[in-house]
Structures are given as structure tokens and as C-alpha cells.
């Protein structure tokens, strides 16, 4: 499964890179507009990661199956990775087009808050002892993080700064010739998310099984 997803990702990435290089340059924004092909897929993957963490946390609390917990930690780490990429690529584009590195508009603020929330999730996991307690506490926090998304959008729409971030997915908002590279870059982003998720989940599973011989040795030494 991992090798297959890796091969698919490799092929998609190569093809997408070619498409992006061949894509037309935006007449108004110039070549900086091509950050879109990295920034938007990163955002989709980040949100996919956070949603997965929340849902797997809920499933863990319900079914008590540690495989859900493994997926949750994997999705959180990969989500934070893509969110970081999102938060770095965004301001680079913003400075070139809006003239500001950062504005407190709804989407930026919520994404930043989510980044903090899931970083705190990762810290919570590393500071908690006992795998069952870690899984339980992290599941509660991850779930709250996901539920905070609509609440935060509601809050910041009411009072945040004016929405500056472009609304995406409008019909024909992309110029001619940009639809294919954009579609493929989103596909590649999601394929990257999937592949990294599978890798990280596999690592987590190995970590747990390979720890067992050590546990035996420690138990023998103690007795």
C-alpha cells in the first residue's frame, strides 16, 4: 500500500510540476501567482489532516481501538506539516500582491488558530505518560479542535477584519489554461497527504510492536 501510494505520488508530482511550469503566467500578479499551486493543496491537506484527527479521536473514544489513535497522531503530524507550508507560502504571496505579510481576515486567523491548536495537540501527546491516557486526552482535545472550526469562523466573520483572502472555487475565477495544473496540484497535494499519512501510521504501528521485546527485558531486569 505504501509503495503503491508512493509511486502514484511520484508520478503525479512529476506530471504536476510539468503542468505548473507550462501554466500561463498571470497577467496582473505575475509569476508569484503560481504559489497558488502549492498554497491551496497544502490548505486542503492541512484541513483533511485536522478533520481526520478529530474524527479518529471520536472513533477512538467510542470504540477504544488503538488503530484509530495511530491514525489520529499520524494525521495530526501530517496536517501540521501542511499547515506550516500553507502559512509560509501564503504570506510570501500576500506580500507580493496585497503588500502586507499578514492580515487578520477570517480564513487566515482560523488557519493560524488551527495551527496552534494542533501544535498544542502534538505537545500534549509528547508530555503525557501512558499510551492509553495519551490517546484519551489527545482524542478529547483533537475533537474540540475540529469543533472549534465552525465556531471560530462564526466569531471571526462577525468581528474579524474584512475578508481579504480570495474566495476560491468560484466559477471561472481561474484564468484560462490554469484549470488543469490547479486540479492536478490539488490531486498531488492530497496524494502527498495520503502517502505521508500511511508512512507515519506504519511507523506508529512499528513503534508499538517493536517496543515489546524491550518491555520484556525491562520486566525481567525488575523482577
Amino acid at each position: 500500500m505504501i509503495r503503491a501510494s508512493g509511486l502514484v505520488l511520484g508520478a503525479l508530482a512529476a506530471f504536476t510540476a510539468y503542468l505548473v511550469a507550462m501554466a500561463p503566467v498571470d497577467s496582473v500578479q505575475g509569476v508569484i501567482q503560481k504559489i497558488l499551486y502549492v498554497h491551496v493543496p497544502a490548505a486542503f491537506s492541512a484541513y483533511a489532516g485536522f478533520l481526520t484527527t478529530g474524527v479518529c479521536g471520536a472513533l477512538y473514544l467510542w470504540k477504544n481501538d488503538e488503530r484509530y489513535d495511530r491514525t489520529a497522531i499520524a494525521a495530526a503530524e501530517v496536517g501540521v506539516l501542511f499547515c506550516t507550508l500553507n502559512i509560509i507560502s501564503g504570506p510570501i504571496w500576500a506580500k507580493a500582491t496585497w503588500g502586507h505579510w499578514w492580515v487578520w481576515d477570517p480564513r487566515l486567523t482560523v488557519t493560524l488558530l488551527l495551527w496552534f491548536i494542533y501544535l498544542a495537540y502534538l505537545l500534549l501527546r509528547s508530555f503525557t505518560e501512558g499510551s492509553e491516557r495519551t490517546a484519551r486526552l489527545a482524542a478529547v482535545y483533537g475533537l474540540l479542535g475540529v469543533l472549534a472550526i465552525p465556531l471560530n469562523y462564526f466569531a471571526i466573520e462577525l468581528f474579524g477584519g474584512a475578508a481579504m483572502h480570495p474566495d476560491n472555487l468560484e466559477r471561472d475565477s481561474l484564468g484560462a489554461g490554469m484549470r488543469a495544473p490547479f486540479a492536478f496540484s490539488v490531486l498531488t497535494g492530497l496524494a502527498a497527504f495520503w502517502h505521508l499519512l500511511m508512512l507515519r501510521q506504519d511507523l506508529e504501528a512499528r513503534r508499538l510492536t517493536e517496543a515489546l521485546p524491550e518491555a520484556d527485558w525491562a520486566a525481567e531486569a525488575g523482577s
Partner: protein, 221 residues
């Protein structure tokens, strides 16, 4: 319900006898006021008065971090946390008991801090005292609601003093947005903005319900 009253009474009794939380939170809040004075040199200007509501809520949030942390760390002695977990009935009642006891202590600290702010920033709070108390209560409900849940989460970790702010602060955005807007409107003599109240009510309801339910999983010792 009995569990709720028992936990509430126990915590308030402990606080009455030792007064450690109230004193620490109060001193901290007043120190924050002093720090703000140094951070905003130039005395009281219309601009600092504009920012006073925001600064007041910053002081409230920081003071509450103290009180919330102590809510469960005091249960670590003699394994009292297991005792709480074994309490009959829904563990959500333990959560409510802790929440209300924290709110009572916080209310005391908030009142004194508001008075200090009124003195330092030359605000007139008495005419709006009742609606202001209402707004502060709404904000504190949201703050203490998830704060109490995360205090129980943090107490199970290695660095609980550090974990509580890290877990809590990102999720306080809706509470602070609503509370600061409402407080600003009150202090400048305007009507309470409906949007801010609506936000506070929705946030408080969501946070309290979720915390009540999630507490069962958190206190599973």
C-alpha cells in the same frame, strides 16, 4: 446534583481556609495592571482608554490561568483525583462543581481588578456595573468552561503549568472577541452589540456542553 454541591462546597471551603488561590490570582492581576502601565508609557490618553477593555480581558485571562491550574492540581495530593473519578453518577457534575467554584473565586479577583483598572485608566465603571458584570460573567463562563476541562487534561501531563495555557489560549478566540467587543461598547456608553452577545452565548453553550460530556473521558483514572 449532590456530587456537584459536594465538590463546590469542598473547593470553596478549601479556598476559604487557605485563601491561596484568591491571593495569588489577585496579586498577579494587580501586577499585570502595573506592567501595562510600564508597557504603555505616556499616561492615560484617549487611545489607552480605547484599549482598556482589551487589556482588562488580558488581565482576566492570565489571572484565570492561575486559578484554573490550581483547580485540579490540588487534587493530586493523597490521590484525591481518583476519589473524584470514583464519585457516583455522571462525572459531568464534578466538572460543574469545579467550574462554579472557579467562577466564584474568579469573580472576586475580576471585581478587584476592574476597580484597579478604573483607577489606573480613569474609567467610570459604576454606571455600567450591572451590565458589565453580566458581560464578564458570560465571558468567564466560556473561559472557565473549557479551562476547567483542560485543567483536568493538563493535570495528567508532565508540564501542567505550561500545557494549560497552550491548550486553552487558541480556543479562547471567540470568547475574547465577543467579550472585548461587548465591554468596549459598554465603556464607551453605547448599547450592547447583539452580535457580541450572540457570539458569547453560542460559544458558552457549545463549550459548556462539550466539556460536560468530554469530562467523562478525561477523568478516567
Amino acid at each position: 446534583m449532590n456530587v456537584f454541591l459536594a465538590v463546590l462546597r469542598k473547593d470553596l471551603l478549601i479556598e476559604w481556609r487557605s485563601r491561596d488561590r484568591v491571593v495569588a490570582m489577585l496579586l498577579f492581576a494587580l501586577l499585570v495592571v502595573v506592567v501595562f502601565q510600564f508597557a504603555l508609557p505616556g499616561g492615560v490618553t484617549p487611545r489607552t482608554r480605547e484599549n482598556a477593555p482589551g487589556l482588562l480581558w488580558v488581565a482576566y485571562v492570565f489571572a484565570s490561568l492561575f486559578g484554573l491550574g490550581r483547580a485540579f492540581s490540588l487534587e493530586l495530593e493523597n490521590d484525591a483525583l481518583s476519589g473524584l473519578a470514583l464519585a457516583p453518577g455522571d462525572r459531568g457534575w464534578v466538572f460543574l462543581g469545579k467550574l462554579v467554584s472557579t467562577l466564584v473565586i474568579l469573580a472576586l479577583v475580576q471585581a478587584v481588578t476592574a476597580a484597579a483598572f478604573a483607577v489606573v485608566f480613569e474609567l467610570s465603571l459604576l454606571p455600567v456595573a450591572a451590565p458589565l458584570a453580566g458581560v464578564v460573567l458570560l465571558g468567564s463562563l466560556g473561559l472557565s468552561g473549557i479551562g476547567t476541562l483542560f485543567s483536568a487534561v493538563a493535570v495528567g501531563t508532565r508540564f501542567r503549568e505550561v500545557m494549560l495555557p497552550l491548550l486553552l489560549l487558541p480556543l479562547l478566540a471567540p470568547v475574547l472577541l465577543g467579550a472585548v467587543r461587548a465591554t468596549t461598547a459598554l465603556l464607551s456608553g453605547d448599547e450592547l452589540p447583539f452580535g457580541a452577545l450572540q457570539l458569547l452565548l453560542v460559544t458558552d453553550a457549545s463549550y459548556l456542553i462539550i466539556s460536560f460530556i468530554a469530562f467523562d473521558f478525561v477523568l478516567d483514572e
